[in-house]
């Protein structure tokens, strides 16, 4: 009896580690296969982003111009001091933030209206609406910038002629000669092009709101506005937050429309354009790298604020949960 138990125990003891080995063997081979398949994509992603941002961080510590590459000299954080105390940089930062805030707010409202329209539309209309809504998304940003630029341009545009009955518009109005009107057209083209994306994200969020809840609220006599505020919006908060964060980051990097319409004239320079002009235009790699790094840190900061303060669960909302 005792002997039997002992034997059984040894058998068990012998079997347990073997099973463990077998299991971890399978797990290990699965891990190996997993990394074999996903590894190349992972390495490529690191190579195309991590290397450049590290190089930019390194270059930002030097006085370094491509016009005089031999004068490369280590100057510590002086490039950052120069950038941060430069009024041009501060103005570019403020303009970028203004564009970001205005376009995200308007896009959220407009995108939500469009999402509601698509959500409520009868089946025959839904396909048509979703198709036309995708057209701005598919159009090249530069093309959209030209379309808006030519429409408002004092020479080739028709907007001044069409709206000359408005008090502040006449045929002599040069939209691209002052900051306010230039930014208006820049933001309008940005909103036009990217609202479809936000509205599709919100449409997906709307589809997740349980219909029973909404119907129950309707039966209980809640008004449309009450149903929106108490049932629909709280249930799609995650979708809204993700849409806002993605669009905010996107708008913060705005470049194409500004380059095409004003090239930064009349106080419309944005951060991306400033970085581009400094490093690619004036070949001041050290200074340009510093702006690039600051731009990158701003993006990180926006993400951090969104995730910590507003508890946006990016991974969860993006299908990983």
């Amino acid at each position: 009896m005792t002997a039997e138990v002992a034997t059984a125990q040894t058998v068990e003891d012998a079997a347990r580690p073997r099973r463990k080995v077998a299991r971890s063997d399978r797990a290990r081979s699965e891990a190996r296969l997993g990394w074999l398949l996903a590894g190349p994509a992972f390495v490529v992603m690191l190579l195309v982003t991590l290397y450049p941002i590290l190089q930019a961080t390194y270059d930002s510590l030097f006085a370094y111009r491509l016009t005089a590459p031999d004068d490369k000299e280590f100057i510590g954080l002086r490039n950052y001091v120069e950038v941060l105390t430069d009024s041009v940089f501060v103005q570019a930062l403020l303009v970028t933030l203004l564009i970001m805030v205005v376009s995200v707010v308007v896009e959220l409202l407009l995108g939500f209206a469009l999402a509601l329209v698509m959500h409520r539309a009868i089946t025959q209309l839904r396909g048509l609406l979703r198709t036309v809504i995708l057209v701005p998304y598919g159009i090249i940003t530069v093309v959209s910038a030209f379309a808006w630029f030519y429409a408002f341009d004092i020479n080739s545009g028709f907007v001044n002629h069409w709206f000359s009955w408005l008090p502040f518009i006449d045929t002599d109005l040069n939209w691209f000669a002052q900051q306010g009107t230039s930014l208006f057209v820049i933001i309008a083209s940005e909103i036009w092009k990217t609202t479809p994306f936000i509205s599709l994200l919100l449409l997906a969020g709307l589809a997740q709101v349980p219909t029973e809840l909404e119907e129950a609220a309707e039966v209980d006599g809640a008004t449309w506005w009450q149903r929106m505020r108490k049932v629909v919006l709280p249930n799609m908060k995650a979708a809204i937050m993700v849409a806002v964060l993605f669009r905010a980051l996107d708008a913060f990097r705005i470049f194409d429309n500004v380059f095409i319409m004003t090239n930064g004239a009349n106080g419309t320079t944005v951060l991306s354009l400033l970085a581009y002009r400094t490093s690619i235009g004036r070949l001041e790699i050290g200074l340009g790298s510093a702006i690039s790094v600051i731009l990158f840190l701003c993006v990180l900061l926006i993400c951090f604020i969104a995730i910590k303060l507003f508890k946006v669960n990016l991974a969860g909302a993006r299908g990983e949960s």
């Binding site: 699965e30 296969l33 997993g34 398949l37 996903a38 994509a41 992972f42 490529v44 992603m45 982003t49 450049p52 941002i53 190089q55 270059d59 329209v117 209309l125 979703r130 036309v132 995708l134 057209v135 998304y137 598919g138 159009i139 090249i140 940003t141 530069v142 379309a147 030519y150 429409a151 020479n155 080739s156 028709f158 001044n160 045929t171 083209s189 036009w192 599709l200 994200l201 997906a204 969020g205 997740q208 995650a238 979708a239 993605f246 990097r253 470049f255 194409d256 380059f259 991306s272 581009y276 690619i280 690039s292 790094v293 990158f296 993400c303 990016l314 991974a315 993006r318 299908g319 990983e320």
Partner: protein, 280 residues
């Protein structure tokens, strides 16, 4: 469904027209401009007074031909290759993420997310410098590599979401029914996965096709300059003429194929865009 009341019908008609105008007006605006005579550009009308093909002739056979046609070739070639590479790499990665259990899965998805929010301008300065030193400046490869930073992350997310929905048990079921492993894969899994892969390719292509920052920063001649960058370098037929007509015509030429793709694959694009972003 009961017949709609007339009032509701009218309301929906108005809403539909508003959405149509919103989405299509700028497109029609540049389309109309592309048919205007250079001498009639400043009339301030929406539609051309005299319709003309001259702007299209200018970019396809005339003076702007050497600026536009090479850039069109570059854009198509570079975007297709960058899309193809990204979709192949992303398919392998997404398959592993959807079907295998291995440490680092989250890390890969988080990295993809991080790369997709990276400001392109931050990457372009060091690449500009490096490409000049190793001879990749102003080449196709010099754009294809950075384009992967745009196309690869979204491809991984979109495909991983698609692959998660595939009922993989069907593969085993087919094998139980006597199919070989290869037959089961080809006849069962490939048809289920193909729409997702195709949609991902479409979205990745749009993103590469849309790039402007890399295009103007990492090229200097028609050897590799893509269309969006080339549009910014168009000049008029003479020094005193604005290139408005030629740019509009070129813009229409690069927009039409995209609009056709959108019309054909609306359903797939919508599901791809929203699945990659919000769990649907």
């Amino acid at each position: 469904m009961r017949a709609m009341s007339t009032r509701l019908k009218v309301a929906w008609a108005v809403i539909t027209i508003l959405v149509l105008v919103y989405a299509l007006f700028p497109v029609f605006s540049i389309l109309a401009t592309s048919f205007k005579l250079p001498s009639q550009l400043n009339l301030g009308t929406f539609l051309p007074k005299t319709w003309t093909w001259s702007n299209y002739e200018q970019i396809l056979t005339g003076s702007a031909k050497d600026l536009f046609l090479p850039s069109l070739r570059n854009s198509i070639g570079i975007s297709l290759i960058a899309t193809f590479v990204a979709v192949v790499l992303a398919t392998l990665a997404a398959y592993a993420i959807a079907r295998l259990d291995f440490p680092g899965k989250k890390l890969i998805l988080t990295t993809a997310l991080g790369v997709s929010i990276f400001p392109v301008v931050s990457l372009v300065t060091p690449l500009f410098n490096l490409w000049r030193n190793i001879g990749l400046y102003d080449t196709w490869l010099g754009l294809i590599i950075p384009y992967l930073s745009l196309t690869l992350p979204i491809s991984i997310w979109t495909l991983a979401a698609f692959f998660r929905q595939i009922p993989w048990e069907l593969e085993q079921a087919a094998q139980v029914d006597g199919a070989t492993a290869w037959q089961a894969f080809r006849k069962v899994i490939v048809p289920l996965a193909a729409p997702g892969v195709f949609t991902t390719a479409l979205i990745a292509f749009f993103i590469a096709w849309n790039d402007f920052v890399y295009g103007i920063s990492l090229t200097s001649t028609s050897a590799a300059r893509p269309v969006p960058a080339a549009l910014a370098f168009f000049t008029g037929a003479s020094q005193f003429e604005e290139p408005t007509g030629a740019i509009s015509a070129a813009a229409v030429v690069v927009t039409v194929p995209v609009v056709i793709l959108v019309l054909l694959f609306q359903r797939q694009i919508v599901s791809g865009l929203t699945q990659g972003a919000v769990k649907g």
